[in-house]
Amino acid sequence: MTHLPLSQTIDQVFVLSKAAIMGHIPAPFQPIASAILSVAPVLVVFPLLFAITTVLERKGLGRMQNRYGPNRVGPFGFSQPIADGIKSLTKEDVIPRTADQVVHFLAPLLLVLAAFLAYAVLPIGRNMVIANLSAGVLFFFAIGSMVELAVFMAGWSSRSKYSLLGAMRAVAQMISYEIPLVLSTIVVIMATGTLSTVAIVDAQARYIGILPHWYVFTPWGFCGFILFMIAATAESNRSPFDLPEGESEIIAGYYIEYSGFKFALFFLGEYLGMFATSGLAITLFLGGWSAPLSSLTWIPSYLWFLLKLLAFIAAFIWVRGTFPRLRMDQLMAFAWKFMLPMTLLNIFDAAVWHLMPHNILRWLVCIALLAIPCLLLNLNLKQRKQLQIRTYRFAD
């Protein structure tokens, strides 16, 4: 342990301290102690990140909309999450009289459970993963599909037309976008030949000169990354795909009948899901915990993961402040007529990339294979729609 250079010791500080604690625990309790020591940090760090994100999001959106955002609690309003937490804990828990009591109670729990389970396979740093499963990516998507059921349970058990509408929209949207989400990751699995998230990161943590060997720097990787992020935005019900909970039309969608701490649990589940899918995107396309330049490897790996995650959160907030909400038919048409063909084409492109000789021609062919169909698809969709200047009946 003492032979490690300082940078590596800092990098492995959590792994080493866990090993040190494990040395003091009697053997029969070691499996359970190991599990608790691995899981507890995730249960602390990511909800804390959620708390910070809520205030960052409100401040960021406020800045984009020329207002202050929260600025009363604590310095610059940064203690707002504590006030929000106390408020949601002390609020009355209202359950509608006609609601299905058991299902209404179970839905937020299932949502948060599924969101937390997804973190089991995310490598947060070097040697820092809860479970290195040989089918890790598949596990992630299997757990992600449980969210749909939770959303449906919440919407249906509330016995309110708004919540049912929101749940139906959410389920339809999540099922439609799950297909491009899963298909866009296949290119990475083709490149590495494994479903294990740890092995995928290890395959990318190499350098060509000073540049990293990340999959986002290949034509198929870049296209897959963009498609994955669009689908991930839709999966996490965020703007511009936030019509399941559109505040201006169906108030809050499937969790309209929830109050107090259960409402907070829905928010927690949604943000945790967003972080988890961002984490998977980082793992698959952006090299996980590896540094972006070979000269920066002295910075601990978990810090790189956190920095990348924060960049993703900033991008999500930026997108939310920028794009207007889509309509239901636009959403579905986009999923089935643009996303699906592009993901299938991307898989073909990845195959071409692997079979061609390693030279500049490979780059040109693979970029052309993606760019030209993308343009043609766009033109075709635009012509079908016959876009024209919109006339407003009442606003003019």
Binding site: L138, M146, E148, L149, L164, T194
Partner: protein, 165 residues
């Protein structure tokens, strides 16, 4: 080890029997989902990671949602008053007992060979290799079949007046 098996088996059987007994159809589907999850955990317990995750992905993520949608599309959301026993419960009981008797007889009278179970270490890689090499043709045929079914579904769902355009 046995304790885990019995917990998982109890979970699966509870889910499956609740799916039969509950009065509200949506509750039945949710209970059935519990049974699916129990089965997936049993697969995991047996070391079949790939099958287990696929079970959750397909049955919890798709089949349960499909069933729920089918129920919601075909009948109103409220509970329907129905008698606890259907009118032909005697016939049902006799059929079930007869089936059980035949199966039990077959199992008892078969010569059971208890092989020493060699731990089959099937990894996800091996499943992928098998699907892509030795079972490539069946996989392609399945894909073709599913595509045909998908096109059929789209044609059924398409509005009728499209052809007049």
């Amino acid at each position: 080890m046995h304790a885990i098996f019995f917990i998982l088996a109890a979970l699966t059987i509870t889910g499956a029997s609740a799916a039969m007994c509950l009065r509200n159809l949506i509750h039945c589907v949710l209970a059935l989902t519990l049974g699916f999850v129990g089965l997936a955990l049993l697969y995991l317990f047996l070391g079949a990671q790939f099958v287990s995750f696929t079970q959750i992905l397909v049955y919890v993520g798709a089949v349960a949602i499909l069933a729920v949608f089918a129920i919601m599309m075909t009948r109103s959301a409220g509970p329907h008053p129905q008698p606890a026993l259907s009118s032909f419960w005697i016939t049902g009981c006799i059929t079930a007992l007869a089936t059980f008797a035949v199966l039990a007889w077959a199992i008892i009278h078969s010569n059971i060979i208890t092989p020493t179970p060699a731990q089959p270490a099937v990894s996800t890689n091996q499943i992928g290799d098998a699907l892509m090499h030795s079972f490539a043709l069946p996989l392609e045929i399945m894909g073709l079949l599913l595509t045909a079914a998908l096109i059929g579904a789209v044609i059924i769902a398409m509005p009728q007046n499209r052809s007049s355009k």
